[in-house]
Assembly symmetry: C2
Homo-oligomer: 448 residues x 2
């Protein structure tokens, strides 16, 4: 396995008081600090204690059917990460932001600012926002078409990268004698004229420590994978079996050469929801406690939204009704496919499906001892299905603490995971080289 | 004077290493930490040491003619304030954001997030973005017309307030027994249908500690004053003489009843750039040192942008060329008028005008001893020209430290200014009542 020689990475995907649908109802989250910034700063510190590469906050631009269930989105992730940056030193800081409902100039600025504030720890999970609820908050009558969203995302990222590149890294001179603040020859007007965006530039921010945020992507549709191969440096993905993981990994890898990229430039991190206990039996019992706390009516609403079919009146112990083909779905195509296949392959009733999805909305759940979890991660990694993992604690902070304090040391003992940070930036943690501005002329060679 | 009985307020308007055009070249700013978040966190802490009401960061969405001169806008202000929030406990946190180049949903969310992160200390300085350079970064060929920008701002703020109000303050229930996270009857869909915006809502954030950010405004054109009277809770303004200050104050106050508002609901804070030294002579000499460091060519570019006339080839020791009437200006009308009147009234050459503007771009500069500065502030306050001041240190951190450590104690000894915080929120510091959601039914009275 060539893969076994690549470094191993760990991202903590954080959400409210945990990923499990019913996390906030379980005694392990007694405090339920969903509105408390200190809760999130402490999570950043716990992840840093475990030497993890990064923490990640997803986001959506609507409340949708979750009003009664969970406060996914109390904090706008970039402002939240700025506050976490101030309470940590090393941990990478990844935020979701939408290409469909932002202005490229504002978004590029915001991430440049987070990168400055954190000393080079910013990452952007690029999403195209596939729900109707979001579309309604931005003047649309329906979700913009899947293909159109990806076309916009493509132009958006191309432009954002140019904005980040508009200041060369040594443009700021700060020479009090000559009065030169910045060298105008190293600050570039873009006059960008795309199909959707016209932006003169430059960005109103000198080049940030990383040059630009780490680019992350998480959609696994055909357009999503192509987009990832073109732009992404890390991919978060939901893969339920080792075989599917290997297939996805290889699929992505094979798309890279078309864009002049190599496997080293893209890290694949499947999601894992770990239930950790001293024995396997206790871990399974813990998972069951959470499953038992799921409120079926909220879960039905969420499943309806995910599948684009109204299930709110559907019998819980019946199988799913016939679902539309994926080609008819304009929202998240890959998640739709994953859930549809899961329900059909395992012949699940709606109640069983809800239980399976409760932990991580389609991500793999694994209940076991710390050793068993480490084994599982190692086997995927060594079998070429992952460069690391997107750890999704079902409850917080306990679920993250257990992973950091009980699983990470085993990975470290096995020589799989770092025992201390060796880099200061998020790109550095992920083993990626610094990025130079595309507008930097090859000055040294030219004079050689 | 009724005014003398109102509490006295102080905001620190912070910019890079100081407001003075040439601040970064002066030995007092030897470190020039314009790219260092710790510099700004320390400024927040200094302001908090002085028990100031708030700190404020202006913003512009373009580099424009400032590339060589100053890094006004390294940090996006809301992310910067989130990082400052994490390093402070009481100080209010005010950021400029544009109604012309943001989506209402995103902007409302961002400020709600800052208000949550800071425990109720967020403020929004509402601007309509009056420069061509900004328009070019958002797909426009010219500045959108002044009147159109204010129409958009009006609808934007109306909608933003509804978004903040879409969650009643007690909507989050968090009852693990019943499984009710939030009470859907207290979370309101808006179905907002304006001329420019259609937004379904609700906001994807529970009501923040202040309900909404403090609303601040800083344009003094006719439209600007009307907008302030309708929405603003604090106004930053450039007034060069006591008489002009009194006139502006009275003008604003007289506009309030039309909107059902009283003078207590709006605080007027004229800007002041203080040069502080042990003697008046030393303070004047200090100011002169800064004036001498202004680079005329950069200043000419900035003046050209401000006046909408190309002055880059104009003789420094000649008077200004004839200027267009204010009706022809689509950018910042009030600043244009202020500079035009200053140049004409005092018959200034371009070089003299640049010197006068160097400290605060049209704001009043005052050089004196701590006592003299306290006298000046007190006299404006008692004469009904101000509810407090927008202090614009010409260099940082020294200029802020001198104000906090030398002027504030005098104001405190005179019983003018608080000696400790008595409130926990920015609205509280400014003596404003909490805001209830407009969608909260009068439940208690109804049952009485």
């Amino acid at each position: 396995m060539t893969n076994a020689r690549k470094p191993f990475h760990l991202n903590a995907f954080l959400m409210g008081v945990g990923h499990h649908e019913a996390a906030w109802r379980h005694p392990r989250t007694q405090e339920r600090r969903v509105l408390d910034v200190k809760h999130f700063q402490e999570l950043g510190q716990i992840a840093e204690r475990g030497k993890l590469d990064s923490v990640f906050f997803a986001d959506g631009l609507a409340v949708g059917p979750r009003i009664k269930r969970n406060a996914l989105a109390v904090f706008e992730p970039v402002t939240l990460l700025a506050a976490i940056a101030a309470a940590t030193e090393h941990i990478g800081l990844i935020a979701t932001a939408s290409t469909s409902y932002n202005e490229p100039f504002n978004l590029a600025r915001k991430f440049a600012s987070l990168d400055h504030i954190s000393g080079g720890r910013a990452g952007w999970n690029i999403v195209t926002s596939g729900t109707e609820d979001e579309a309604f908050n931005f003047g649309y009558d329906a979700i913009p078409e899947h293909a159109r969203r990806y076309e916009r995302a493509d132009e958006f990222v191309d432009l954002a990268v140019q904005l980040w590149d508009s200041w060369e890294s040594d443009a700021v001179v700060l020479d009090p004698e000559t009065g030169v603040f910045a060298d105008p020859d190293k600050v570039h007007t873009l006059d960008y004229q795309g199909e959707r965006f016209r932006v003169r530039g430059p960005l109103n921010s000198p080049r940030s420590p990383q040059g630009r945020p780490l680019l992350v992507q998480a959609g696994s549709s055909e357009s999503g994978k192509e987009f990832a191969a073109k732009y992404a440096e890390a991919v978060f993905t939901a893969q339920r079996t080792l075989e599917e993981g290997q297939q996805f990994y290889q699929d992505l890898e094979e798309r890279l050469p078309k864009y002049g990229r190599s496997a080293d430039e893209l890290k694949v991190l499947p999601g894992l929801v770990p239930f950790i206990a001293d024995t396997e039996e206790q871990a399974r019992a813990l998972e069951q406690e959470f499953t038992d706390l799921i409120s079926p009516d909220y879960a039905l609403r969420q499943l309806s939204s995910l599948l684009g079919v109204d299930l709110t009146e559907h019998a819980l112990d019946a199988p799913l009704p016939p679902l539309p083909p994926v080609s008819a779905i304009e929202g998240g195509k890959s998640r739709f496919t994953l859930v549809k296949e899961l329900a059909e392959k395992e012949e699940l009733t709606v109640r069983q499906l809800i239980g399976k999805l409760g932990g991580g909305r389609g991500h793999r759940t694994f209940a076991g001892t710390p050793e068993q979890i480490a084994d599982e991660l190692q086997s995927w990694y060594e079998a070429g299905a992952a460069d690391g993992f997107n750890i999704m604690p079902p409850y917080l902070p306990g679920g993250l603490e257990d992973f950091v304090d009980r699983v990470v040391p085993i990975l470290q003992q096995r020589g799989l995971f770092r025992t201390d940070y060796t880099a200061t930036t998020l790109r550095g943690h992920y083993g990626l080289d610094p990025v130079e501005s595309q507008f930097t002329p090859v000055r040294i060679q030219a004079s050689a």
